[in-house]
């Protein structure tokens, strides 16, 4: 029984078929990005913090994969690991990350540098601080064009203007000469997207790009990203904690908790019926707009807190907060179970075990 329906707003009717549950790559096509058994850890003198544990996922061509979870579940670190930008003292402990079959983790630094910003690009969460305040927008845009596409002078300027226009900035030529502090957050994020698009990357990683923005601006940015993807066929790895955003952009969803994958599913199927209790909890926690306002209505929150990374339970990591924990949940760590239609879950007592 579904408690959540992906909204199709009348303002953007084209959204309904394009969003949740749309078919992605033709079956059998090789995935663009393969993450296999990724483990990332932070060695502190108190012990090793495993931020990501045994994570395996794929992103197909032309598809948007959403990586969902709350703060600290390891989703941002996963994204940084793909770019090989995990901050010190963290490092990748196990696994492989393949782009078109080539293991990025095995590349030399120079080779990886060439991939970064060219084949894979990334946009970040805080547009206010992601741009260098003492360099003009134009400079920051042109340096990518010069570095990866060898464009200079007039052709570079023209391309830069075109990029800014593509992301919906009204006065591209003027913006090129401006400094970032003159732009609003939404505009800066558009600039970031333009910079990420400059080399027509195969994969764009978006790390919570709308979290720091106004709701209305958020909708615009998501719309922009969706349009760009439809037009260019690039893949997106979309990191977010917000299921509402997931419904708007994602073809498939991977839910993370405590550094590991706990559920994976095509988007529509997920919203129709989540399998993992945690996913169910996330959905229940979304504010409801389809019921009449009831003064006694209380926002649902999942009780408890995320386990401390140095004190992870030996059984299921979600057991302490799970409303249906039972039996060996606390004792045995559940393995990933593969189901039909690309769904999988990590739970001893999954909900709605098989869709009818």
């Amino acid at each position: 029984m579904s408690q959540f329906e992906p909204q199709s707003s009348p303002a953007a009717p084209s959204r309904a078929p394009a969003s949740a549950g749309r078919g992605s790559a033709p079956p059998g096509a090789a995935p663009l990005l393969e993450i296999e058994n990724l483990g990332v850890g932070f060695p502190l003198h108190r012990g090793m913090i495993h931020a990501v544990n045994g994570l395996t996922l794929n992103v197909g061509r032309g598809e948007t994969l959403a990586l969902v979870g709350e703060s600290g579940c390891g989703k941002s670190i996963t994204a940084l690991a793909v770019m090989r930008l995990v901050p010190e003292p963290g490092r990748v402990l196990t696994g492989a990350i393949r782009l078109n079959g080539e293991n990025l983790l095995a590349l030399s630094s120079d080779a990886m540098r060439q991939v970064r910003g060219d084949k894979i690009s990334m946009i970040f969460q805080e547009p206010m601080s992601a741009l260098n305040p003492v360099l003009t927008i134009g400079y920051q845009l042109l340096e990518i064009l010069r570095l990866h596409l060898n464009l200079r002078g007039r052709p570079a300027l023209e391309r830069a203007e075109a990029l800014l226009e593509e992301v919906g900035l009204p006065h591209p030529r003027r913006h090129l000469e401006e400094y970032p502090h003159l732009l609003s957050g939404g505009m800066r994020q558009r600039v970031m997207i333009a910079m990420a698009r400059a080399t027509e990357p195969q994969l764009m990683i978006c790390d919570e790009p709308t979290t720091a923005l106004d709701v209305t601006v958020q909708a615009q940015i998501l719309e922009l990203l969706r349009r760009l993807q439809e037009r260019t066929g690039m893949s997106m790895l979309f990191i977010t904690h917000d299921l509402g955003v997931v419904a708007e952009v994602a073809h498939r969803v991977v839910v993370m908790y405590g550094g590991e994958k706990v559920e994976e599913s095509p988007s529509r199927a997920l919203f129709n019926g989540p399998v993992h209790p945690y996913t169910r909890g996330l959905m229940d926690a979304l504010p409801r707009t389809d019921r009449p306002v009831d003064p006694s209505y209380r926002l649902f929150t999942i009780p408890g807190v995320v386990p401390h990374p140095l004190a992870l339970p030996s059984g299921c990591r979600f057991a302490d907060r799970c409303f249906c924990a039972a039996g060996n949940c606390r004792a045995t760590h559940p393995e990933l179970t593969e189901g039909a239609e690309g769904r999988s879950w990590r739970c001893h007592f999954p909900l709605n075990r098989q869709e009818g």
Binding site: E70, M128, A212, V215, A285, V305, V306
Partner: protein, 325 residues
């Protein structure tokens, strides 16, 4: 800079956002002490300063001779049995003069800092607390004074104090000169330093006072109807003192060096009271033939300033480690 409103759909779950492990219940002060203790140079410097203070306090017991005991037959004697560090141009024992000189430097360090701290703090907190036009005019005065070169001013002040003929003064002025003479010239040094160094403290304490004033808990106290004085003393000051102390202790090396400079050019302590600065001047004359006379005050001055620098840095790192990584 424009602010974006936080996304309406905040993180769904409450829970610790932070992965760092904070030991339970450790107060800020104890954390600070722990960090300070780990900083070896700061700790060593602190120990050195404590020892130096003891030497200064017990100078009459430790020094082999009084600082003014001279022996014109033993001028510039090399270090030896009679004179552990040698003798100066009047046959006075260098070691004893160094020991008594530490009194001057440490007195300037602590009392000078205290005077400047109190003056600046009083002025700044008042301005910050009163706010409005009071604050505006008080700080404008500070801005104008801040532009003046404090060294030139302190030199002029000291010239003014030193050039008077004490015998001709009456009343309060005579009393001041009397006290100053009794203190070997230190009183006017304190006054001079205090007059020229309170400005920065005033600025900082006022900034801190303003930021505290804007915080919510101050509104609470005003809502509770507490008296002005109580608000300042109990609520404002404890929060301001920390950063202000850190800032002021970073100035101490400057006070020591300023006093050394003043004594060096003859405007500081009254001879025969020794200051490391005046000893450097005296040693300069015979530097080429008898370097031992200038060497020791140079070394002591450097090491003491170094120690205060380390301790000041250590304090700052301990209480706000973000500033220095």
């Amino acid at each position: 800079m424009m602010r974006e409103e936080a996304n309406m759909a905040k993180p769904i779950l409450t829970g610790t956002e932070d992965v760092t492990f904070i030991p339970k219940g450790e107060s800020l002060l104890r954390q600070g002490l722990r960090r300070f203790r780990k900083n070896r140079m700061a700790l060593a410097s602190f120990v050195f300063l404590v020892l130096l203070t003891l030497v200064a306090v017990f100078a009459p017991l430790i020094a082999p001779a009084h600082y003014s005991t001279d022996d014109l037959g033993a001028t510039y004697e090399k270090p030896g049995a009679n004179y552990p560090l040698g003798a100066d141009f009047m046959g006075r024992d260098v070691l004893s003069r160094i020991i008594y000189g530490s009194r001057v430097s440490l007195a300037v360090a602590f009392i000078g800092a205290l005077v400047s701290f109190l003056m600046g703090l009083g002025y700044g907190v008042t301005a910050g607390y009163l706010g409005g036009r009071w604050d505006e005019w008080m700080m404008r005065a500070v801005d104008v004074l801040y532009a003046l070169p404090s060294l030139v001013i302190i030199i002029l002040i000291m010239v003014y104090f030193r050039a008077g003929d004490p015998a001709s003064f009456k009343g309060f002025k005579a009393l001041l000169y009397e006290w100053d003479r009794a203190m070997g010239g230190m009183l006017f040094i304190f006054i001079g330093l205090g007059l020229t160094s309170w400005l920065q403290m005033a600025r900082i304490s006022r900034a801190e006072a303003l930021s505290i004033r804007r915080r919510e808990f101050m509104e609470n106290t005003q809502a509770q109807g507490l008296s002005h004085r109580r608000v300042i003393l109990r609520h404002m000051l404890p929060n301001i003192l920390g950063p202000c102390i850190v800032v002021e202790s970073a100035h101490i090396p400057l006070y020591i060096l300023t006093e050394a400079f003043l004594s060096f050019i003859g405007l500081g302590v009254n001879p025969p009271m020794p200051s490391w600065g005046s000893m450097i001047n005296e040693g300069y004359q015979a530097m080429r033939s008898y370097p031992h006379v200038i060497l020791w005050p140079v070394v002591l001055l450097t090491v003491t300033v170094l120690a205060f620098n380390y301790v000041g840095d250590g304090l700052r790192d301990a209480l706000d480690p973000r500033l220095n990584d």
